[in-house]
């Protein structure tokens, strides 16, 4: 198969817009919403930096720059960095409900954490939910985006509807779906019984395997629209020239998808998945409302386990140690991911 440079056309300064030249009777102005982002410059190459000439200017610039950044920086240092350090400090001490003193115990908490089966199980659950969830969110989101990408009029109508789940308060999502998953009175089993007969009796939130599935499906419900919107916009902005050439060459649907569309939006896919992944890892609200970690501890996630340790059993030193291990793990994974999929820029 032929290939073209998969990366979008050269950067343009802000203000100009990519307009697919299509006569569908749709106002080009409406297309802008979903297309405009392409026009923005590559973040890695700064072209808009203000560089007035003269040494006095640069000194003044630097000072101005830091003054402007100061409030945000102060907040982040005070409420982001300091608590992080405090947490590290806590992690080296024993802080328990039953013992009033809080002695220094070195790496004991960390050692205990690494040997903690329940922690490993919670991590495993979290990763399963994240990875399976994202896979489905991506596939379904992509599918929906592909279905809609060339129906601009319908798109305008459909996107606000599809995006509603993302707008919902996660706790509300949990509450609603908990009712839906109910074995006897829930709508889901009702519909399933209509299809499979009255004998069906899946106790979604009461059985180990189905509980996780229920949580994953609920997540997929809420976050597929996010993927959908991102992918839709991204696909809409792929340069029409590529498709034109492909059409001329006789490419069919799958080839186009595989060799043009996906590579072109590869960067965006990678970032969207990173976003979703980091977000999904925090999953807490659903566990709280659905199962509180049951059956047994099989639906405990990382956040939930830390919450339980810290705020129901009040083992704060240990909870801090676990938090740190998780932070390190996520940082490593994120760094590797960014290096592999995002930083590379325009490689074929």
């Amino acid at each position: 198969m032929w290939r073209r440079d998969p990366f979008p056309p050269p950067r343009r300064r802000g203000g100009t817009r990519a307009r697919p030249r299509v006569d569908t009777g749709v106002d080009p102005g409406e297309m802008d919403e979903t297309v405009e982002f392409v026009a923005a410059p590559d973040p890695m190459q700064r072209t808009n930096i203000s560089k007035p000439s003269g040494p006095s200017f640069s000194g003044r610039n630097r000072r101005d720059g830091w003054v402007l950044v100061f409030p945000a920086l102060l907040l982040i240092l005070a409420m982001g960095v300091y608590p992080l350090l405090y947490s590290l400090f806590l992690a080296f001490h024993q802080w328990d409900l039953q013992t009033p003193a809080t002695p220094f115990i070195g790496l004991d908490n960390f050692r205990a954490a690494l040997n903690d089966d329940r922690l490993w199980s919670a991590l495993k659950n979290t990763w399963v939910i994240v990875i399976v969830g994202i896979c489905f969110e991506f596939i379904i989101g992509l599918g929906l985006a592909l279905l809609l990408v060339d129906l601009p009029r319908l798109k305008r109508f459909v996107v606000p509807i599809f995006i509603l789940p993302v707008m919902m308060v996660p706790i509300v999502v949990g509450l609603t779906w908990r009712m839906l998953w109910d074995n006897q009175y829930g709508a889901i089993n009702h519909v399933l019984r209509m299809i499979f007969g009255d004998g069906l009796n899946i106790i979604w939130l009461g059985q180990t395997n189905t509980a996780i599935i229920a949580m994953i499906i609920t997540q997929i419900w809420q976050w597929t629209p996010f993927m959908f919107v991102v992918l839709l916009a991204a696909i809409s902005a792929v340069s029409p020239d590529l498709y034109e050439a492909a059409a001329l060459d006789g490419a069919n649907f799958w080839n186009t998808l595989k060799d043009i569309t996906l590579p072109s939006i590869r960067h965006i896919i990678a970032v969207a998945i990173l976003f979703r992944g980091l977000d999904a890892f925090k999953i807490f609200d659903l566990v709280y409302i659905f199962t509180q970690g049951s059956p047994g501890t099989t639906t405990e996630t990382a956040s939930w386990y830390i919450y339980r340790l810290g705020f129901q059993f009040f083992r704060m030193g240990y909870a801090s140690a676990i938090s740190y291990l998780i932070l390190i793990m996520l940082s490593i994974v994120a760094t590797i991911y960014v290096a592999a999929f995002i930083r590379e820029g325009g490689k074929a």
Partner: protein, 306 residues
């Protein structure tokens, strides 16, 4: 399928050779079967996404006898407003007030601090690439790492500064502001990058100060970005649960925490919980509809700006 759509599609097919084809579609004429498949898939998707929302709204109007029924009651015969009345009186108004105050304040504060910082990064490249990356990487922090230190810190701080203690609105406002900052800086910097430099340069040459330029030129031009990021910040602050449930007791209880309170053991009142859930969700829906155009733009922009 509808005639006008069919016609448009035919017209499209005809102009393919002349104009660029519609993105990602082969040049063949579409088969009606595929179209039906396409529309029905979209319809199914729409039902899938809308149904739970429909369910919770309906639940909030159901009489208690209709909650736990088999088969489920789809539309109640006697809808009631009782749940709304009761739940708002008992804990709804307080929670709503807290949520509004906290979310609005956090959004405002983070927009101010964030936009200033974003401008600084965009125009003046403050701190260089590494500083920018460090700021943005704050977003990757899983919140759960911070709940324990926050809890203990706020106990201490609360003794000296009353509005920053446990169970105070100020604490949540401060925390949400900080959590919104990286994202706002991220997005707003992109927007500023999209604002032409010439306008500001010429204004400065004409004697305007940096701040003046910022306020009078850059900010208005980046207004869509402000709206988008502000909406995100507001939504995050409104829906956040983990910190709210750990750090509040009674005084600063927000809507999500109040709703979660209904999932207790003795006496789950689904109707009231649903009513409160609708109250919690409606403002966000309305807000997102209002800023729909900018919102979608912001969503995608954020995704791109890795």
């Amino acid at each position: 399928m509808r005639a006008d759509v069919a016609e448009a599609q035919m017209a499209q097919a005809a102009t393919i050779a002349r104009d660029a084809p519609i993105a990602h579609r082969s040049a063949r004429r579409k088969r009606p079967f595929l179209s039906i498949l396409r529309y029905s898939t979209l319809l199914i998707a729409a039902i899938f996404f809308l149904f739970p929302i429909f369910w919770i709204v309906v639940m909030s109007f159901k009489l208690p006898s209709d909650y736990l029924t088999r088969p489920p009651v789809w539309i109640p015969n006697e809808p009631t407003l009782n749940h709304y009345r009761t739940v708002m009186e008992t804990k709804g108004w307080a929670a709503l007030e807290n949520s509004v105050v906290i979310a609005t304040s956090a959004t405002a504060l983070s927009l101010i601090a964030g936009t200033l910082a974003a401008y600084s990064l965009a125009r003046l490249n403050t701190g260089g690439k590494h500083f920018a990356f460090w700021l943005l990487s704050q977003r990757m922090m899983p919140p759960v790492v911070l709940i324990v230190p926050y809890f203990l810190m706020l106990i201490d701080i609360g003794e000296h500064v009353s509005f920053l203690g446990l169970d105070q609105r100020g604490s949540l406002i401060a925390i949400y502001t900080v959590f919104n900052l990286p994202f706002i800086i991220w997005l707003m910097r992109s927007y500023f990058d999209g604002v032409p430099l010439e306008l500001e340069e010429s204004a400065m040459v004409d004697g305007s100060t940096r701040i003046g330029v910022f306020l009078k030129i850059a900010l208005p031009l980046a207004l869509p970005g402000l709206i988008a990021t502000g909406t995100f910040a507001f939504i995050f602050s409104w829906t956040e649960f983990l910190f709210a449930v750990v750090l509040t007791r009674t005084n600063a209880v927000t809507l999500p925490v109040a709703i979660a309170g209904f999932s207790g053991s003795q006496g789950s009142n689904w109707g009231q919980a649903s009513a409160l859930a609708v109250v919690a969700t409606a403002p966000i829906f309305v807000l997102s509809l209002l800023v729909q155009r900018h919102f979608v733009r912001g969503l995608t922009l954020g995704a791109v700006r890795g």
